[in-house]
Symmetry: C2
Subunit: 166 residues, 2 copies
């Protein structure tokens, strides 16, 4: 057994700070030659609308990381108030059984899309950059699907929160 | 008089979708050879903690854009529940008078830091990439400062919302 390396103080301060940057909780999903995978992530942001582009930061040690690279497509499924348990299952587990057929469809790029997501962005991955422990996926949005009467599942202060639009 | 070009349907759909990705509201500030500037932005996300790195997406047409590039340093001031009016003033105006001395200090890199921000990240800009209408600023965090009893000011569904931590 080896003891995990201690976290440097500057990295711990950064993590503490980032826990106070409120963010939407999303399931990032993929399918293709490397199989069907998904994980929970909050590091997603808009880049430009010409052409519609977003980015996602994913830890290179994540089980699904290489599948995103090989499949070259992903869906950002933005979660709503009813999705807390689903969020945890995609944060903790990796099995195919998380994709229960009633809840999931298939987007134009072939990736899984959560039917009742607050909003889903079906994307082709245009570019992947390595930054330390993470990859930054720059993604061109092929289709955006918005739900009526949307709510938000947010992560802030190391806990879940919910909001309603309007 | 010229009529503004219509927004392409795919860009409008993307904007509508992005309005439902809840996000923290931040003031991004700078100072240096190009002067003191700041603007309101929600497109901020964590990249890696080794070394501590975040990114900010800023419209290339923003008044302060070139000052960020020239100064090569910025502070991400994450706003709290009491900062809605401040957020609007940095979204709508560009004057120096927004930096009222009682509310602002100076970070180690020389950029303005909001004294009662929920969290502030003092950064050196390591790399700037152009993506369509926007620049992506990759920033190495020099110092993180966290407030006790933090709250969040969030933007979701084209409106402000607030949350308390803990």
């Amino acid at each position: 057994m080896t003891t995990p390396a201690p976290i440097p103080a500057e990295a711990q301060a950064f993590r503490n700070g980032m826990s106070l940057l409120g963010a939407a909780v999303n399931l990032i999903t993929t399918d293709g030659p490397a199989g069907r995978h998904g994980l929970t992530a909050s590091a997603v942001c808009s880049v430009t609308d010409t052409p519609p582009t977003l980015l996602v930061c994913i830890n290179r040690n994540a089980f699904a990381h290489d599948a995103f690279v090989r499949n070259a497509a992903l869906c950002v499924n933005v979660l709503g108030e009813e999705h807390q348990a689903l969020s945890l299952s995609f944060a903790r587990y990796t099995g195919e059984d998380r994709f229960v057929p009633e809840a999931w469809g298939v987007a134009a790029t072939g990736v899984p899309v959560l039917k009742n997501a607050t909003v889903s962005f079906d994307c082709r991955i245009a570019d992947v950059q390595t930054r330390g422990t993470h990859s930054v996926f720059f993604c061109e949005v092929q289709a955006t699907s918005v739900k009526d009467q949307a709510s938000a599942l947010l992560w802030f202060g190391r806990g879940f929160h919910t909001l309603k639009a309007g």
